[in-house]
Symmetry: C2
Subunit: 354 residues, 2 copies
């Protein structure tokens, strides 16, 4: 509760001097300084953050806005952001699970004056107004943006080429009736992955429009239901590409419940490479994206943008999405997925920085 004034009074100096001591700005008499420090610690004086950022216009805080905080992917992103922010001495102000543009606007408003920059995940049309308004005061970095915004940096995954590689792999294994379980409509990642799926089929001389496409929503339950639908289909597809791993998990469960063997009866490929993918039965072939790295990249771009101020251009960055072959696609001949990766005596692998 002690303010800078209290410290000044007790120490017998002016508030300017106290401020100088705490920001070791200009040279202060060492004797005075130690006296001030002494009094400050006695009074348990801690500078008030709000007041500081009001005058300095710096908050040492990064705003983070997510559409939802659901599933492992998002928490990995946050972990990446958090880790990198800490390295740069920034804290993060989190606001998530906004379902519509109005909410996003309110959240953005609440952040204003409290952040030095904003990292926004998967902005869509509804949140574009917020982005524009925030952008006029602090730098904004977009994660997997649906639409690029003039003057904003962005980081995204190579969803398209990742999905294409996955489906090409299935085609290469001899499959020519491949089903797709899509992500939620309107989701960029989902759409890009669907586009990659179609392109791979087309490139292989197959008709994308003839393929079975089941709408999903990135959740496990959607995968389960899709599995039921796929099993009912005649002729039955010989392979399925799920637009994310969560749905692949549900799909595997549905197939198992029906007594089908994977990959013998049906091959399955997912997307994301979540932590449990390697532990599934069978280990899931999927496309690996480094969610944590995405967050880190975003922070690094942000640091650059803050340094450059309004003069900096807007960097667009693409992070790789790499096909990771395990057993659910039927390509791997031996090993257990987990062991393959863990082998070498070094113990289990961890997905770490970069």
């Amino acid at each position: 509760m002690a303010t800078i004034r209290d410290v000044a009074r007790v120490a017998g100096v002016s508030i300017a001097t106290v401020s100088r001591v705490f920001n070791n700005h200009t040279l202060v008499n060492p004797e005075t300084a130690s006296r001030v420090l002494e009094v400050a610690s006695q009074l348990e004086y801690w500078p008030n953050g709000a007041a500081q950022s009001l005058t300095t216009r710096r908050t040492h805080t990064l705003g983070v806005m997510l559409p939802e905080l659901f599933g492992e992917f998002y928490s990995e992103v946050i972990r990446g952001i958090d880790r990198e922010s800490r390295a740069h001495d920034y804290q993060i102000l989190l606001s998530s699970s906004h379902s519509n543009g109005e909410e996003v606007l309110i959240a953005g408003r609440a952040m204003l004056g409290r952040i030095d920059g904003l990292i926004m995940m998967a902005p869509d049309e509804a949140s574009i107004e917020t982005v524009e308004r925030v952008r006029r005061r602090v730098p904004v970095v977009l994660l997997n943006p649906r639409i690029e915004v003039e003057g904003c940096c962005s980081v995204a995954f190579e969803n398209f080429s990742g999905a294409r590689a996955a489906v090409e792999h299935l085609v290469g294994l001899g499959h020519n009736d491949i089903a797709l379980i899509t992500g939620p409509q309107g989701n960029v990642d989902a759409e890009e992955r669907a586009r990659g799926f179609r392109r791979a089929l087309a490139d292989a001389g197959l008709d994308p429009d003839a393929a079975l496409v089941i709408p999903g929503d990135f959740r496990e339950s959607a995968g389960y239901e899709a599995g039921v639908a796929i099993l009912a289909r005649r002729p039955r597809p010989t392979a399925v590409f799920a637009a994310n791993d969560c749905m692949a998990v549900g799909l595997l469960a549905a197939l198992r419940a029906a007594g089908r063997r994977v990959p013998r009866d049906i091959a399955v490929v997912g997307f994301d490479d979540i932590a449990m993918a390697a532990y599934l039965n069978p280990p899931l072939t999927t496309v690996r994206v480094d969610a944590c790295g995405l967050g880190q990249q975003a922070v690094e771009l942000m640091m650059g943008a803050m340094e450059a101020g309004a003069t900096g251009g807007s960097v667009r960055q693409l992070l790789p999405a790499v096909l990771t072959v395990r057993q659910s696609c039927g390509a791997a001949s031996a090993g257990t997925g987990y062991l393959e990766e863990a082998a070498g005596g070094a113990g289990p692998v961890r997905r770490g920085r970069k």
Copy 2:
């Protein structure tokens, strides 16, 4: 960049009126109000958060401090905090991965004046000073505290009884040579779980000191190494209790790599019930704790504490830890763990709120 003064000037009113319009405080002439609103939107005026919290002394932000942001457990906790905060219109200021007391203190200092309350995870001796200092200004809620702090609410899991139930279950299945893989030294959860382990053995007439205890650190790799050590032991334990699921995952991998079957050769029980536990091969018997619920509870206690101000007592809350029997312990006779839970046509279960 427009301030309240700009709006006032253009609209031809005083700043007080503008402020009143935005806080729809006392009655303002509707005509004046709409004019102010009009000007404000034209000027893209957004109130400055830092300035607001300086005068009102409310930030609508909760501080969250974690020792590390690693593994699914923590991200679940954050999700719970985030979700509940949003419901109460609070944002969260996150600061994590502090390795020593000094860092915690700095982080706490940076938060001061920016938060209305602090939720601190797993505080130890090193961070106690920070807690004490913060506590003098805003309410503090402790998560799984190593030491209770006078005047702080806290939420924790019933680690002790959960672990005891797990080990009792193994004993009930006929095991009398049970090994323990511990968590990191100094971690409360780890120690409580170890205590539950010993108690269960003692209650069953077995000597806790005779049991094989392997020090771990909650990471997968520690579980793997522990597995190797356990297999080398003669006579070989017939069951293992891992202090968390991550280590159980590593353990299972080590056992599989050595060609041992679980639970036929060795029974395994974990703790936490992370998402992948039900998907492991075999599905992992473990003790379920609701990490997300922990976060939510913390926020609810915080809301109460903020309302009560300094007058409120300090609530201590315990959340249940429930044994969840799957197949790795050898008790379940049929089903696949996943299917058992997912059965009923309702699709896969999700761990949701409460």
